[in-house]
Structures are given as structure tokens and as C-alpha cells.
Amino acid sequence: MNKIVFYEIKRLLLSKIYLALLFLTLVFSYYVLRNQTILGTAYTAPFSRWSYASFLSSVVPFLIVSIIFFCTYVFSIQELSVRTITLSTPLSITAYYVTKGIAIWLAFSFTSILVIGLSFAFYAYGFKFYDYANFLQPILLVLIPPALFFFGLGMLAGLINSGWQYVLIVLAFIFGNLSYSPIPGYGGVFSQAFFENYPYKLIADASGEVPFSLPASFLITRLVWSVIGIVLFILVCYISNKKSNRN
């Protein structure tokens, strides 16, 4: 299993498309850091958790595009043609998808680490700021829920018809780049609008900084998106299992 996962990751990370996407993501990340994050979100410090969350939520659409792209590989013609051989081994369809999923998530983590590393270098160079442990909460809240949701949805779209995965890329990219959420309140899967607007509602402390205090409703929606993503992935495994048993 480890060998298969390692091979899958190697295949994903060394693909030309991934490298091109990674390059674009890093260039865009630097652009956001240099022009937006440096000003600080909602009057907070550029290295506040609000500013960092806002930075990550601007870059997230690029990361989501990578995830859905990875999902397209699971359902590509080449992959489908070798799947019959793969599944003739003791590997079950669920294990097959889990292997692919682990590989996708490790590749996603690798991209995210590079983006986060770039931002840390920016803070070190620009502000002599090194207290990165502070950023763990924004990292988890901004990156994981949309990644889980789009991973599940991307897999389901691929199972139905691989064309839908590309439609999903378009929609995720366009809506992810708008500071606008079609879902009222702070329920949208992308949290850019939330991190840009919510801190204005909070009262600053004596030093003028706004505490990083998130409403329960926001945390619940993050959880809901994550759960939906996981449920969708389980659904993909269930449907595929049922189909293969029928065959």
C-alpha cells in the first residue's frame, strides 16, 4: 500500500500540469502577500491571524483547482483502462479510492506547505516576524474544509461524468475569486468574504488589534462543509463498490 501511495504521489507531483499549477499558485501567493496582506486585513497587523486567514482564503481557489485536477486523474481514460487490471488484484475499490485519496491529500499538503513556507519567508523578510504557531488555527480552518468538500464533490463529479469535474474547476475558480458568497451569512465554502468583513464587527483591544474570535456559526459551517466532503467520498466508494459487485 505504501509503495502504491508513494508511486501515486510521485506521479502527481512530477506531472507537468502540477508543476505549472504550482508555479502559478506560488506567483499568485506572492502577489497577494506583496499587495494585500502587507496592508493588514481590517486594520489588523499584516501578521495577525485575520490577515493570515484572509491571505490563505485568497489563495485557496488555486489549491482547490489542483485538488480537482488530481481528481480528474482518477477518472481519466488512461486510469480507467488500467483500473480493471488494478482491481483484479486483492485491492478493493474502496482501498483503491482511499489510496488515490491519500495521494491527492499528500500532494495537496505539499502544495500548501510550499505556499505557507513562502508566506513565512515573506513575514521573516518583511517584518522580522517568526511566531508562526499562531497561524495553525487559520491554516486548519481556511484550507481543510473547502479542500475536503471539493475533494468529495470532485470525486463524485468524476464518478458521474468526468466532464463535470472540469465544470467544477471553472465554478470553484470563479466563485473562489469573488469576494462574494451566494450563500447568505458566513456559510459559503470559500471564506474570503468572511475574513475581510467580520473583523470590522469586533471591538479592538487596548493595543488596537482585533482579537481572533470566530463566531460559532462560522465554525459549524466549516465542520458541515468538511463532513459533506467526507460523506460524498464515502458515497463514491459505496456506489462504486455496489457497481463492481453487480458486475
Partner: protein, 730 residues
Amino acid sequence: MNLYTLTLNECKKLASSRISIFLVLLSATTPLVGLYLRLLIMAQSITTFTILSPVKTGALLCTAFFAVFTIYEMDRVFRNNVVSIIEPKISMLQFNIAETLAIIIAAIVTVILAAFAFLPYTIFKLGDLFEPGLYVFSYFGIMLPGIVFGILLSSGFYMITRRMDISFFLFGALFFLSSSDTSHYLAAWVQTNIPAYSDSFGNALAMRTALWNRLVWFCASTAMFLLGILSTRRYEKSISQSLKINAKIIYRPALLLILIVSAAGSAIYEPYFDNSERVEYTAIADADSNMAAVQMIVTKETNKHVVLKQTLADITIIPKAAEINGKAIYSLENISNQPQEVELSLQPGYKIFSLKINGTLAPFIDMQTTIMNEKYFQVKLPANKEIKVEIDYGGKIQENREQQLALGANQISEECVFLSGRALLPGFSVNTKTAHISGKITLPAYLTLITEGDVNERVAENAEKGTNTWSFNYHNSRISLIAARYWKEKIFAGGIEVEFYYHLRHANNIKETKASEIIKESIDFYTDLLGNLDYSNLPLKIVDTSVLLMGGFASGNICCVGEGIFEPAVFDIKFEEGTTGIEVLAHEICHQWWGVGTHFNNSGAWTSEGLTVYTTAKFIQHKYGEKYAQKIGLDSWKGGMEILRRSFYYRHPEYMQVVPEEYLFNVLMENNGIVIYQQMPLQIMKAEQILGEEKFQGILAKLYRRYKNGLSYSDFLFQCGLTEEEISVE
């Protein structure tokens, strides 16, 4: 089976497919998103909101949808492994062309559906402002070509790579370029970079540049498609072997070559923008005043041994051809008794047909330099004291390439002419302090001409050609011209004559908003407060201009305001979102005292804006009372200061020392608006509070009287008898 039959079959197949029907119906509704969200626009006008925003958003979404659909459809035969069945019966080249053509037909149907669906609403919303030509152009010149290019490009990518993911990535990269880079008008191939539509002054430059963009991308996307067709795999051979087979019919590679050359040629030799050298700026980050300033590095110097006395010009403007022809006679004085080399500059799109010095044809050398939309030539002047230079020139405008984002500068069109400086006539880089310019300008009779300086009189009419000739006369070396279908209303205010020019279409709005009364009352108020304008022989000209000129400005005795402010809902003080039209109008008029009548020695936060904003608020207080003045004045300025105070760098100035110089500029630039428009008026208000309103207003009148040639912040403090610290609001 020929191509026609194949295409028909593909069309039938699409018509019976649920996915394609869903795609067409979904795509036809995408303009709704732009109608609701007002995306991808830079200025406000009702035509922009009702036509441009929906169409640009629709173009963006539909292009993405159709590109995905194209790649998916092209992949179908390979996905289903039916190539070996199809190929013996049908040419795969023809099959790919037919598939692409069928999708393009679906795109045409989509745009026709969208255009019909939104037509009743658009007509209802725009009323008299509805222009069928602009509507048709928007749907079939912006939206449809974007989708078709997307289909051709993605189809080409797929046929070359035969990989869905790579094709999609390549398309995505081009799509991202279009949606993110609006600094070059040719880059925005999907939605174009038209920033806004003018309601009444035409959109000629926007339409011309959009059509050129379409020409470039038609050639480029068709070339990519043709390359894809040539790459179609034959008999399961490799791409290079297939290319060899497909290119045997010579017209195919020849056509591809023609398209590539056409695309590159039309992009390189595009006709609307010049090749101005990038202007060099020095960025100054001033942590003391919380501001960043940009200073242009001037590379051209004037020849001080030569003095320009007078310029006489006879200019003809031909809006139909977007052309200008002119003759200018310059009276120069060479005070050096030596031959002199002087630089002559001209609009880069114009040509000098002949140049005579004292009646004799003289050479002029093209210096191959274009700076800030001025192309430079070198001319040798004789040692004579009195020199007459006669220049015949003309041509079409090439706009400054830095203006591609706004598309709102010099233009000659049938609905509006706006020309300033060298776009009207050439000029010498010499001493122009005592220069005087006058002459005649001929235009179509339906256009009313406005220039700086004296009243523009209609001196001749040519009924046969349908033109009028107007006079102009101004004490300066440069002059600007505005012409449109104007109505001129004369107002007597502040002891001077005011000419208020507004577009005929805006007559009802002007009547409803009582804008003329605001003009009269504001001028009377400023005159009482500060003193008379120095226009005893000149009228003050207040001009309604295109929304594409992005806001208002003052130049000499002309005061321009964007058409959007006269919308009754925007003009009125009840307007709650942003600045009202009344404030904009009163502010621009006030600049006649601060900025035009008095020159400012700008330094840090001290510019003409501080006193203009303060004085405008005083007028609003006089006209609408304390409560409203408080809202747009003190409350707004204090709000700005609150933002400044809350900003991180204001609270922690020590970080100004930490942040690298190259980042600091961005940080401080963010504050410029607040510091100039809110902090400075608040400081001025504090001075008023310390000195008392009456005494302070006396000082303002004194400043206006005494410091016409340069008013600095220290002059202001000195006359107030206050120190910087005393009026500090930090």
C-alpha cells in the same frame, strides 16, 4: 459524407442532447449574474449597469462553460474508443471541424437567446438612452466572439494534445490571463477591457479597441484551431507523421501561416495606442506625513533661448474618419543671436506634412522618441530674432499606452471629441511663459465646441458640408477642446458669466435636479467668501463630460464633471451611498479658486484638495444646513481619521523602519486618499475652530488674493498665526 452533412448531423446530435440543451439554457441566463453583481466595470452609468456588466460577466462564464464542453465533446470519440470505426468512413479532419462548428452554432443560438431575453428589460430600464447599435455590439461583438474564441482555442488544444487535462490547463491559463490582465487591451480576449459605457457621449474608442481585440484573437484562435486540425492523428500515427500527411494539401499550412502572421501583425501594429517609453517614476515613501508620493522623472528640457510668442491655428476635425487636419503658425523669438536646435512634439498618431521656417521648407528630424504620448522631432532654427514656423499636420490619434485600462482620454468620434495639448496641435519645447494661442476650428454643425479661454464664437457656417467654424483665443501655449451635442445655458453668478454646457439628452435631468441653481449658488457663495474669480473677460465654462473621463477635473476656465452625477438619484442629497452629484459639482467648481485661481506648492498632505474639500463643505452647510454638512464634512473626515488611526502602521510607526523600502510604498499609498481628502480638511477645520469662523474666513480670502502663484503649507500656517502642532489632529 461532406462537411455540410457532418455539421448538420452534429447539430442534430447536440439539439437532442440534454447536456447541450442545459448548457445553452444555462449560458443564456449568465448575464443575470452581471446584472445583479455589477462586476468587471470601473465607472458608473446606467448603460454600464444594464448592458456592459451583464454582457462581460456572461462572456466570462459562457466562454468557460463552452470551452469545457468543447474539450469534453472532442474527447468523446476517444473516450468511447470509436475512432477506428469512424475513420474508415469519415475524414477525422472533417469530423473535428464539424464537431467544432456545431458547438459554435450552439454558442450563436445561446447569444441570440440571451440578447432576446434581456432586450425588454434593457429597453424598459434605459428608455431614451437605449441604443440598438450598442446593444447588438455588446452581445455580438463582446459576448459571442469571446465564446467562439474559447471554443476554437480549446478545440485546437485538444486536437494537438489529445489530453483533456492539458487542453483544459492551457485554456485555463489563457482564461486567467484575460480575466486578470487588463493593463493591455489585447490581453482581455474573453470579456474585453471596456471599463464602462457612456450614456450619451458615444463609446467609439471602446468599440474600436474591442473590435481590434476581436480581429487579433480571431486570427490567433483560428490559427490554433487550424494547427489542431493539421495535428489530427491519421491512421493511428504519431503527431509529427500526421502533421506531414495533413499538410500535404498546401493551402492548409499556407492558411495557417497567413493566420499566424495576421495575428502577430495585427497585435504588433495595432493602431490605437502609441509606443511611449515607460515613464520613470521615483517613489517617495514619507513616513512622517503617512504618505507615499510618486514623482515623474522629467527627461525633456526646454530651450530657454527661444520664446514662443503666439500660435495661430486653423484646424479641421473630421469625426466620421476620426481624423484631424491642421495648420499652425508659430511666432518665435530667438534671443540668443545663434542658430538653435529645438524640440517639436506631436501626437504620435499624427504626421507632419510640411514644415516651413520663414516661408521656406525646412527639414525636421524624427528623434524616435515618444514620451507621455508626445512624439519628438528636432528642428534647427536660424539665428534671426523673429522666426515664423508654419506646420501642416494631421492624422488619427494614437492614445498613450498607459491609458489602456481606462480608455478615457483623447478621442475623435461622431458623438464626442476630446483633444488636449499635442492632440490638438504640435508644440515646441521652448519658453512659453508669455505665449498666446488663437485660431479657428471646423467641426460638423451638430457639435458644439468648447475650449479654454474666450467665448467660442461660431464664425462661419458651411451648409453644403454641414460644418461650423468656431473661434478660440487663450493666453497659454496649450489648449484643450471638447465637443459634443451640447446645449449651452448662460448663468450670471459671482459677477462673471458662466456657460453651462450639458448634453441635450440630459436636459430633463438638469431640469429635475436644478443643477443650474446649484452652480449659481455655489459660485455666488465662493465669491462672497473668497473673492472674485479673475475672469472679467472670460466666461467660466462648466461642462458635462463622458463617464469614461473618470470623474471631474478643472483646466483653465473649464470645469468638467462626469455625466453620471446628473442622474437625479445620484445628484440629490438623499443619495446615501457615496458622494452625491451636488458635492462633486460644488467641489469641481471650488477648484476654480483653489487649484486653478491659486497654485499650490504641494508637499505631503498639502494640496489644493484640502482647502477645496473644506470650502465645499462650507457651501453645503450654507445651502443644506448644519446636519447635512456634518455628515459629508466633519463626520466623514473624522471617519477617515478613525480608519487612519486604526490602521496598523499608524499605530506602529516603528514598522515603517522594519518594512523593506520596496514594500513601504504600497503601505503608504493606501493612506494617500485619507491624508489628502480627510486629514487635511480636518486640520483646516481645527484652525477655523481655534481662530473663529469669521476671522478664519477672512484669512482664506487673503490667501486667495495674495498667493495666486504659489501657496505653501507654511504660508497657510503663517497667515493663520498657528503652528503645525496646534492644528494637528493625530
